[in-house]
Amino acid sequence: MTLLEARKGSRIRILQIPDDRARAQCIRFGIGEGTVVDWTEPLTVGPVLVRQANQEICLGRSLAARILVEEAPGERHDASPSHGARA
């Protein structure tokens, strides 16, 4: 599914960010491909809000619609050494 389709409040893993620049910028913000994010929320009439640790970022809807994610309900993120590696 895409990030835009993720349920409000769900814990998800980012699988693929297609756009080069967006991917680089997301990695800088802390959400690379493979990262599990704590909370995602498609805002009612706005972008998608993603929160991981204390970091909150907003992604426009059309970008969110191109980002592939999967649900990762049980996983703790906790900035563990391994979680950035899976992709």
Partner: protein, 625 residues
């Protein structure tokens, strides 16, 4: 990416500041909103130079600390060439002798990415672990000694707001050293050093920076994804080892931050904020303060004095007198305009924008407006120039530089030039509406302008070539702005603005003076008359108002006061004058920013559009009556 990045004159790009022999270049680097400028102010004191980095429009501050030079860089999340800020920061960082990296202790996952990039560049550095108090308040315990050991550079906990830790940072500077980088990455960098002459640049070439690669005549190596992902893992690993998180619910501030993003609360709050801004700028500053600075000081005292002096020197009539001190005189009109009208408005706008910026509210407005802005081919970030446009279109046109690409800048520039009334004009428009039409007419005017704005935006989103960028921003926590920081920011931005555009206002008034002296203005008035009377069904004197609109949009609107218009005529006249050409200074700035053909398009387009829509309105009103 703009062409100017590629045309840097020297090998390392233009030097921003002259550094005396023997002095060290100490460069402050950090993410946006981490308190970097507070460090800069404390290190350098009063004597600070702010200038545009050569070839760009990004302001860089520099000052002295003892024998050394301190440079502030724009806030960035990483060093590369994604936008002008990064390009400027990149070129300054490459040349740094010593880096002070300011990081936000609350957002180490984000900030340490840049830190590790600087470490990978091999630059001698000191890390200031700022907002240490806030991190503790949020249940984060950061082990700064362990962080220092793992990074391999001095780490000093600081609280910039209360100047805590500044002396310690200063004392740590002699201990600055290159940190513990990734050995594999360092091997790759060393392998490049025969072709690229410094480690920072070698790293950027590896990360695929096309501009740095071009400077050294090598191909950029497309390893960004691998390097970035590996760095991200190192950051996460580091954070896991030095940060201890106390579990707890979301604090009040985070909840409030979320609430502001949700329409049910966010929209009413935004409405209140905009209303307060309007009351401060549109009423207090535009009417009361400008009434005093423009009317009493400039027109009441300064202009008569100038006329007297100029009259005594060149005689009080004739073309030369007109050009210097006449109605559109270089010394009268442009001076009054810049000092009496623009200065108070621009100060007020930058003051409020700095408050919004420092409080962390601005990105939330951008998020809230994203959906609407997407419909007109922009993204949420475009609300910043749009809001500024209600102050001064010229100022806002310059601010379109923050937008993602040229397509977005074109759409935003044209939308403002066509459909957003600037504060000077707004003052007269609201006055006229209040005097003649009242509530119904005001609502009708607003609805018509919003519809026109929307239709124009949708049309441009469709026909302006290219693709708009998506919103991708981080949301800083809400904070109480620091008055001193707000004041410094406002001061610097105002100076930069005046420095950049004053010449255009002078050129504009000179151009108008020439048109008046040669009789071209009167001729245009005659020529416009049939259009005014026949098509818009307004009295023929209204043509003067439109002609004056070429000069200053508010002059145009003010010209409508004396015509005794009522009802639908007021609406026709106001809509026409709003859509009509942007003022001459903004046309000149549009030319400078977007090029001649685009400026010509907005200028001619606004005339056609103004009369087309004005005429249609007049005829519709005629049928209804």
């Amino acid at each position: 990416m703009s062409a100017r990045n590629a045309t840097a004159p020297s090998c390392h790009g233009p030097a921003a500041v002259a550094v005396p022999a023997g002095a060290k270049k100490i460069v402050l680097v950090g993410n946006p909103n981490v308190g970097k400028s507070l460090f800069f102010n404390a290190f350098t004191g009063l004597y600070v130079d702010v200038s545009n980095y050569p070839g760009t429009t990004v302001a860089v501050s520099s000052g002295r600390m003892g024998d050394d030079v301190v440079l502030d860089t724009p806030g960035i999340y990483g060093v590369s060439s994604f936008n002008d800020e990064e390009t400027v920061a990149r070129d300054i960082v490459i040349e740094a002798d010593l880096v002070v990296n300011v990081v936000d202790a609350v957002h180490l996952e984000r900030d340490l990415f840049l830190t590790y990039q600087l470490v990978d560049m091999g630059l001698p550095m000191v890390v200031a672990l700022n907002m240490f108090d806030e991190a503790e308040a949020r249940g984060l315990r950061v082990d700064h000694q362990e962080l220092s050991r793992l990074l391999g550079v001095p780490v000093v906990p600081t609280v910039a707001v209360s100047k805590t830790g500044f002396d310690e940072v200063r004392r740590a500077l002699p201990d600055a050293r290159s940190g513990a980088s990734d050995p594999v990455l360092q091997d790759l960098i060393v392998g490049l050093l025969d072709r690229v002459d410094s480690r920072p640049e070698a790293l950027l070439v590896l990360e695929g920076d096309p501009f740095v690669a071009a400077r050294h005549g090598v191909e950029p190596l497309g390893m960004r994804d691998e390097i970035y992902l590996a760095r991200r893992r190192r950051v996460n690993d580091l954070v896991a080892r030095v940060v201890e998180r106390r579990e707890g619910g979301l604090d009040l501030r985070t909840r409030l931050g979320h609430a502001l993003l949700r329409p049910l609360i966010g929209v009413p709050v935004l409405a209140v904020v905009l209303f307060v801004m309007y009351e401060i700028i549109g009423v207090l500053v535009a009417q009361v303060i400008v009434g005093f600075t423009e009317g009493t000081i400039m027109q009441g005292h300064v202009e008569p004095l100038i006329r007297e002096v100029v009259g005594a020197v060149v005689g009080s009539s004739g073309p030369l007198y007109e050009l210097i001190a006449g109605e559109f005189g270089v010394l009268t009109l442009s001076l009054t305009y810049i000092v009496g009208l623009l200065l108070p408005l621009v100060v007020a706008f930058y003051l409020l924008m700095s408050v919004l910026e420092d409080s962390g509210y601005l990105p939330r407005i951008a998020a809230l407006a994203d959906r609407v802005m997407t419909a007109v081919g922009l993204n949420g970030r475009a609300v910043i120039p749009m809001i500024l446009g209600f102050g001064c279109i010229t100022m806002a046109t310059i601010t379109t530089r923050i937008l993602g690409n040229e397509r977005e800048r074109k759409i935003a520039t044209a939308l403002m030039a066509f459909a957003i009334p600037c504060s000077a004009q707004l003052g007269v428009i609201t006055g006229l509406l209040a005097a003649t039409g009242g509530f119904t007419l005001t609502i009708a005017y607003v609805v018509i302008m919003v519809v026109i704005f929307g239709l124009l935006g949708v049309a441009m989103a469709r026909y302006v070539p290219g693709e708009s960028t998506d919103l991708l921003i981080d949301l800083p926590p809400l904070r109480v702005p620091q008055p001193k920081n707000v004041a410094t920011k406002t001061y610097r931005k105002t100076i930069m603005f005046l420095r950049e555009v004053s010449l255009y206002f002078v050129a504009g008034s000179l151009l108008l003076g020439v048109l008046q002296v040669t009789g071209a203005l009167t001729a245009a008035q005659q020529w416009l008359a049939p259009l005014t009377v026949g098509w818009l069904r307004l009295p023929k004197e209204a043509a003067t108002a439109f002609i004056m609109g070429f000069v200053r949009r508010d002059f145009g609107a003010a010209g409508l006061y004396g015509l005794g218009l009522s009802g639908a005529d007021v609406l026709v006249a106001l809509v026409t004058i709003t859509l009509f050409v942007p003022c001459i200074a903004s046309v000149l700035v549009i030319t400078k920013e977007r090029g001649r053909s685009f400026a010509a398009f907005t200028w001619v387009g606004s005339i056609v559009l103004a009369f087309l829509i004005g005429g249609i309105l007049a005829h519709v009103a005629g049928w209804l009556a």
